[in-house]
């Protein structure tokens, strides 16, 4: 059977449109390339450009079995102990926002990458890049916030580094954290483990963090009483793994939001993910801001929410387990995994129609009219 003859449920002949769609599908599976001559902001936005950059440059140069799956954390065994290892950099602006700051974000983000990999986070490093002239009082505040977040997440800051750059060469303060954790041997998770019949869950209302930070920048003249959702997920994840053996994959829905995570899972598992828009929990404040700005909450970053794919038969158990935890009160089953069409994320709209949910291109830009 040739490539163009695949997938013909219900139709004997392909329409011309379907042939074109298949051609596009093949193009999309082709090896990633970076066509730009210089880095643009799109390369950091978490969408297709970021993915191309990682696959075409970093994966090409650094390829190894630990990196290859491009999961939230690398997993490997040392002397019979299964470890998870990850790193993340934080450049949020503004540094302080309702519900959090760059300090607790830097701890929670790395704790969460370890947690959704099935690990118990243990130790973190903190690397600080400071701009000449940055107020020491602000640094003190950030350090105190890092300490509180680490205590709350039961991790220790075991090592660190400080660099200062000239005024204008950085935006106040950037932080890099790396973290290690241990994984129980009976826990096997991966974005490539989703199977038809599985259920897709989120642990709470989505988009709070992204909208909070956008509004905190003060450029939009929109006010909403909304805090960031930044929180350590190790407690709620451990509870889920203990109660539900059929957890296949977890990802925290940070940059690129839930939509990006679902696309990664659909691609890695060669399945389709079907989401019901009406089932996706979104706070009214977030919906309202997104309506005004013309962006889709599915693409807006969270810093304390995760997506889980679980065996369909255990979906109710999973959602009840999540809801029993304070961070999971708003958990919901938002969709399911089906076989066809592979690698696509589909949305049943609340209006009663259907559409694709693709990876985001560029920054989430506001529409003008």
């Amino acid at each position: 059977m040739t490539d163009t003859e695949m997938y013909q449920p219900g139709t004997a002949h392909k329409t011309r449109e379907e042939e074109v769609l298949d051609r596009i599908d093949r193009t999309r599976r082709a090896r990633a390339r970076v066509k730009e001559e210089r880095i643009t902001l799109s390369h950091g936005a978490g969408g297709k450009a970021t993915q191309s950059l990682i696959e075409a440059i970093f994966l090409e140069e650094f390829r190894c079995s630990e990196l290859e799956p491009l999961e939230d954390a690398a997993r490997f065994d040392i002397d019979g102990v299964r470890l998870a290892f990850t790193t993340d950099s934080y450049v949020v602006s503004p540094l302080f926002f309702p519900g959090g700051d760059i300090g607790d974000l830097a701890v929670n983000g790395t704790v969460n990458d370890l947690s959704v990999s099935g690990a118990t986070p243990l130790y973190l490093s903190v690397g600080m890049i400071l701009e000449e002239g940055f107020p020491v009082a602000d640094l003190q505040r950030i350090a105190a916030s890092i300490r509180r977040a680490a205590t709350a997440a039961h991790v220790r800051i075991a090592t660190g580094d400080t660099k200062v750059v000239q005024r204008g060469k950085a935006d106040g303060c950037y932080i890099n954290t790396a973290g290690v954790g241990v994984i129980r041997h009976d826990i096997v998770l991966g974005a490539d483990r989703a199977r038809p019949g599985d259920a897709v869950l989120v642990s709470g209302p989505i988009g709070d963090h992204g909208v909070t930070v956008m509004l905190a920048r003060g450029e939009l003249d929109i006010a909403a009483d909304l805090p960031s959702d930044t929180a350590p997920l190790n407690g709620i994840v451990a509870g889920l793994l203990a109660a539900v053996p059929g957890v296949r994959a977890m990802r925290d829905a940070t940059r690129g939001g839930v939509a990006t995570v679902l696309n990664e899972i659909a691609r890695a598992s060669e399945v389709a993910v079907v989401i019901d828009e009406a089932a996706v929990p979104v706070r009214n404040e977030v919906r309202g801001a997104c309506e005004i700005l013309g962006i889709d909450p599915l693409y807006v970053a969270c810093e304390g929410r995760f997506v889980a794919v679980v065996d369909g038969a255990q979906a109710e158990l999973a959602v009840e387990t999540l809801r029993a935890h304070p961070l999971g009160a708003g958990a919901a089953i938002i969709g399911r995994v089906v076989a066809d069409p592979p690698t696509l994320v589909l949305l049943n709209t609340a209006f009663g129609g259907t559409r694709i949910v693709d990876l985001l291109v560029g920054d989430p830009l506001p529409r003008i009219c």
């Binding site: 297709k48 066809d340 589909l346 209006f351 009663g352 129609g353 920054d363 003008i368």
Partner: protein, 375 residues
């Protein structure tokens, strides 16, 4: 959420869809053009086509303000941005539009300072706080956004700001619709009129479409039920043998438009003799420029703008797509050489562009998806 959910109710949609289906003559094909890119976006975002009988086709029109900007104008803007002490501003949608030599994003990577703003008033704010820089606002859009540009120019004049100017690319909708009606290769049965433009210009300017071209037009709102209801109104006109301008969006659009908005446009701007549209070529009296009285706010007069014409890439069929002659997927490069991440044509850039909307939201076989999404 109030003012949103009531226009997205699936029950009402099913009832409307049944009424539309009842009006369909099974032996006939219906082609309606939604003029406005905002409609295209709504149609795909909510999956409205799932409610329509197979013989009703929606054709996507030229009303995406980003899509109609020719490459040469992007190059001109980048040329201005490269001048010493210039801080260029524009709407976010413009940032990824390819010119002859890259987009604003690419240009920023090379060292220009082109900032995204949400309103021309934000550009004015930047001008106030950066008195040592010349702040240029690249104005784009139809009559919808022209009044806010006009108000900003008037505000700048009032405040005596002399480091603010506008690179004016405002276009007008009627000449574009006329160009489409005069295009020989297109057969349409009616129009969904652009709702936001109509809040400014009202409904009267469309009357020639009925009287001279015999096509009905319904000015439509932007929520999914607005669009379904407007399609129903067009079908009703056809089945009753009527041909009129009707206003579905009367909760926002006054029949005579917004006289204050029209006055400020007219005070600050006048028609250009001709203007190039991406894919459509030169259309007479289809765009606006600043009047002489506001010359000091006109970036085209402050800077030596090269005004080079850049021919559209050969492979690009944006023109045919903008005219509704081709469906996005019928373009030779759609989805392969031209994708949202590496667009060749403007229709692939803006979320309101027909190609981007189809690629991002509608790129699947409805047959296969019906099978996939049924529980």
């Amino acid at each position: 959420m109030r003012y949103v959910d009531e226009y997205r109710d699936a029950e009402t949609a099913r009832a409307l869809a049944a009424r539309i289906a009842a009006l369909v003559d099974p032996g006939r094909e219906y082609k309606f053009m939604e003029v406005c890119g905002g409609h295209t976006h709504t149609i795909y975002k909510h999956g409205i086509e799932d409610y329509l009988p197979e013989n009703i086709t929606l054709v996507h029109g030229p009303g995406c303000p980003v899509c109609v900007i020719p490459m040469g104008r992007v190059d001109d803007a980048i040329h201005i941005a490269r001048q010493p002490n210039v801080l260029m501003t524009s709407f976010g949608d413009m940032m990824r539009v390819p010119g002859g030599d890259g987009s604003f994003f690419d240009s920023n990577a090379e060292g220009t300072n082109i900032k995204m703003v949400y309103s021309p008033l934000d550009a004015l704010k930047i001008a106030r706080t950066n008195p040592d820089q010349q702040v240029v606002f690249m104005a784009i859009g139809f009559e919808t956004t022209a009044p806010s540009t006009a108000m900003t120019i008037l505000r700048a004049a009032e405040e005596g700001l002399d480091n603010f100017s506008v690179f004016c690319n405002h276009v007008t909708i009627i000449p574009a619709i006329k160009a489409i009606l005069d295009s020989p290769d297109l057969r349409l049965d009616g129009f969904l009129g652009p709702g936001h433009v109509s809040t400014v210009i009202g409904c009267r300017p469309y009357e020639f479409i009925c009287s001279s071209y015999g096509k009905p037009l319904v000015v439509a709102g932007f929520e999914p039920l607005d669009i379904l209801q407007s399609i129903y109104m067009l079908m009703l006109q056809l089945s009753e043998g009527r041909c009129e301008v009707e206003n579905q969006y009367n909760r926002v659009v006054p029949w005579d438009g917004n006289p204050v908005a029209l006055r400020v446009i007219n005070q600050t701007m006048e028609p250009r003799t001709y203007f190039e549209w991406r894919g459509l070529g030169f259309i007479n009296y289809s765009a606006l420029k600043l009047r002489d009285a506001y010359a000091k706010y006109d970036a085209e007069r402050l800077f030596a703008v090269p005004g080079v014409r850049v021919a559209d890439p050969k492979a690009c069929q944006c023109g045919e797509v903008l005219k509704g002659v081709l469906k996005p997927w019928e373009c030779k490069v759609f989805g392969t050489a031209c994708t949202p991440e590496t667009p060749i044509g403007t229709c692939m850039v803006s979320p309101e562009g027909a190609c981007a909307a189809y690629y991002n939201f509608g790129r699947f076989s409805r047959q296969r998806v019906r099978e996939a999404t049924q529980v």
